[in-house]
C-alpha cells in the first residue's frame, strides 16, 4: 500500500473541501458526544449529590417541600424557605435522640451564601482551616476557598452582606464582617459559603443591633423617658426611635453595644442538621416528628434518590431520542459521503488508468470517511474528558 500517496491525495482533498469535512466532523462529534455526555454528566452529578447527602443523616425544617429543604440543607439554595425557631431546634436536642446543629442561610454577599451556624458545623463536615481560625465573636466570618479567591479576600479582610432590596428602608442593611479564617478547599458547597455565628445573621436581618448608649444619643432620636417597662422598677429608662443610627460594622469597640430584643429562642433558623446518636434514636426521632404537622424531618439521601429516580427515567428517554437523532444524522452523513464518492467516480477511474492499484483507490475512497469518523471520535474523547472534569465541579 502506498501510504504516502494516499495521505497526500486524501489530505489535499480534505483541505480543498474543508468546510464540508468540518461540518461532517462536527455533526458526527455531536452524535457521539451528546448521549454519552448526558449519561456522564447526570451520573457524575448524581454521584456528587449522593456523597453530600449521605454525609448528612437528617435535616429538620419547617413543613413544606422536602426537596427544597434538602437542597437548602446541603447546598444552601432556596434561601426563602419558611423558617423554624431556635427553640424548636433546642427541643430536638433535648430529646436526647440526636445532636442538632441549627443554621440560617437566608443572606448572601456578592452571590455567596452567608450561613449562620455554630462552630460545631466545621466538626460535622470535617472542615479544615487553610488560614486563620474559626469565628468566635459577632461580626466574624470564615470564608470558603472559592469565596476567598473570587472576592479576593484573606484573613484580616472583610466582606459585606448584600442588601436584600436596594430601596427598602425598613429592610436588611449591609453588615461589614471581618474575615478571621479561610477554609481549605473541600470540593463541596462549603467552598462557596461564608460561615458566621447564628447571631451575626440575626443582626444582618435586623433582629439585633448595636448603637451608642441611649444616654449618649441626641434627643431627636428619643421618643420617651420613664420607668423601665421590662423590670417595672423605678429605674430611669430611655426609649429610642427606629431612626436611631446603628453600627454597620461590629468592632471590638462597639461589640458590647450589640443586643437582641425579645426571646432569642423565638428567632428564626432555616433548619438544623440532625445527627442521631444511634439507629434506634434515629427511628425514635422520626417517630416523634411524624406527630408534628408544622415541622418535617427528612433523610437527604432518601429524598435525593427519589429525585434521581425521576432524573434517570427522563435521562433514559432523552438518550433514546438522542440515539434516534444520531442515527438520522449518521445516515445523512453517510449519504453525503456516498454522494461525494459518486462525484469522485471519474477521478478514481482516471487514477486507476494512470496506474493506481485497487488497494490505493479503496484507501482513497475510505480516507475521507475514515478521517471524518476518526477525527470526530478523537474530538468526542477530548470533549468527554473535559466534560468529565467539569461535571465534577458542576456536581458540587
Amino acid at each position: 500500500m502506498n501510504f504516502s500517496g494516499v495521505w497526500f491525495l486524501g489530505w489535499r482533498y480534505l483541505l480543498r473541501n474543508r468546510w464540508k469535512a468540518l461540518l461532517l466532523i462536527a455533526a458526527f462529534t455531536l452524535v457521539w458526544v451528546l448521549p454519552v455526555a448526558l449519561l456522564l454528566v447526570v451520573d457524575r452529578v448524581g454521584e456528587n449529590l449522593r456523597e453530600r447527602a449521605l454525609s448528612t443523616p437528617l435535616l429538620a425544617g419547617r413543613a413544606g417541600s422536602p426537596l427544597e429543604l434538602m437542597f437548602n440543607g446541603l447546598y444552601f439554595t432556596y434561601p426563602d424557605l419558611a423558617t423554624m425557631t431556635l427553640k424548636e431546634v433546642d427541643a430536638i436536642r433535648e430529646t436526647g435522640h440526636a445532636e442538632a446543629i441549627p443554621y440560617y442561610a437566608r443572606f448572601s454577599s456578592r452571590g455567596f451564601r452567608i450561613v449562620g451556624t455554630n462552630p460545631d458545623y466545621a466538626r460535622f463536615r470535617d472542615l479544615k482551616m487553610a488560614a486563620g481560625r474559626s469565628f468566635l465573636r459577632l461580626g466574624e466570618c470564615v470564608v470558603g476557598s472559592n469565596v476567598a479567591r473570587e472576592l479576593d479576600v484573606e484573613v484580616g479582610g472583610s466582606v459585606i452582606s448584600s442588601p436584600e432590596m436596594l430601596f427598602d428602608l425598613a429592610g436588611v442593611y449591609p453588615l461589614k464582617m471581618t474575615v478571621v479564617g479561610e477554609l481549605a478547599p473541600t470540593g463541596t458547597a462549603d467552598d462557596d459559603t461564608i460561615l458566621v455565628d447564628l447571631k451575626t445573621t440575626w443582626i444582618i436581618e435586623g433582629l439585633g443591633h448595636g448603637h451608642q448608649a441611649a444616654s449618649d444619643i441626641s434627643a431627636e432620636f428619643r421618643i420617651g423617658e420613664g420607668e423601665d417597662s421590662d423590670s417595672g422598677e423605678a429605674a430611669e429608662s430611655i426609649r429610642l426611635g427606629a431612626a436611631v443610627p446603628e453600627y454597620n460594622e461590629i468592632t471590638p469597640e462597639n461589640v458590647d453595644s450589640f443586643h437582641f430584643h425579645g426571646d432569642v429562642g423565638d428567632y428564626p433558623v432555616t433548619g438544623a442538621w440532625v445527627i442521631p446518636t444511634s439507629v434506634k434514636e434515629r427511628a425514635l426521632l422520626k417517630g416523634d416528628f411524624a406527630q408534628l404537622a408544622e415541622l418535617q424531618l427528612i433523610e437527604p439521601a432518601e429524598e435525593l434518590e427519589k429525585l434521581l429516580a425521576t432524573v434517570f427515567r427522563l435521562r433514559g428517554l432523552v438518550v433514546a431520542l438522542l440515539v434516534l437523532v444520531g442515527i438520522a444524522a449518521l445516515a445523512l452523513g453517510g449519504l453525503v459521503l456516498l454522494l461525494s464518492h459518486r462525484l469522485r467516480a471519474e477521478e478514481f477511474r482516471h487514477l486507476a488508468q494512470l496506474g493506481t492499484g485497487r488497494g490505493m483507490i479503496r484507501a482513497l475512497v475510505v480516507f475521507e470517511a475514515g478521517f471524518v469518523i476518526a477525527t470526530s471520535l478523537v474530538m468526542s474523547g477530548l470533549i468527554l474528558a473535559t466534560l468529565n472534569e467539569l461535571s465534577q465541579r458542576w456536581g458540587q
Binding site: N2, G5, Y13, L15, L351, Q353, L354, G355, G357, R358
Partner: protein, 235 residues
Amino acid sequence: MIEIEKLKFSYNGSSRFELSIEQLSIRDGERVALVGPSGCGKTTLLQLIGGVFVPESGAIRFRGEAISALDEKARSQYRLREIGQVPQTFELLDYLTVAENIELPYWLSSGTESGIGSRSRVQERCRELAERTGISELLNQRPRQLSQGERQRTALCRGLVMEPKLMLADEPTGNLDPENQDRVVDLLLAEAARIDATVIMITHEPALIPRFDRSVEVSAFARIRRDSGGKEVAE
C-alpha cells in the same frame, strides 16, 4: 519495442465491437499517429497497450515483456513505471495545484520501484517542464483557473514528469484551437525526443500527421487495415 500479435478484443464478448490486430510493431523512440473515425477502437487499442484492458486472445509485448499475461497489479505498476498518459479531457484534479497535478504520478508510484528518484528530483523536473511548456507562472494555481491550452500543457507535463519510455496521448489536441494544437504536439514530440520515449498519439487532425514517423489507421470495424509504414498491416 511494442509488438502486437493476433490480438482480439471485445467488450464483454459483445459482437457489436471487436478489435482485431494480426500484427503491429512499434520501434523504441518511434512516433506513431493513430487515426480513424470515432468509435473504431483507437482508444481501446491505447488502453490495451497501456494494460488497462486485457485481450481475449493474442499478445501485447513491451520490450519483450508480455503485458497481456500480467496480473492486474503488475499491469498497474507497468503503467506507472513505463507509461506517460495525456488524455483528451486533461483529467486534472481540481483539489491539487498545477504543480501537484504535474507531480501526481510520483505520489501514485511512491513505494514502488518505478520513478525517477527522489521528491526533490521530481520537483526539479516539474519546474523544468513547466518552464519549457510556458506554465511556470501557473504552478501554484488551480486547474479551473487555467485556459484549455494551459490545462493541456499541464496534463502533458504530468505525462512526462516521470520520464516514461512510452507516451500514450489520447487525442490531446481535441479541445484546443489550431495554435494550441500545434504548440502541444510540438511540445509532446520535443519532450518525448529529449527522453527518448516512444509516442503513440490518437488524432483527428490530418495536418498533424506529417509530424509523426508514421500513422496507423484503425478501420470503422475496428480492424487496422493500413499501416503507412508499409509492413505491419493488421487485418
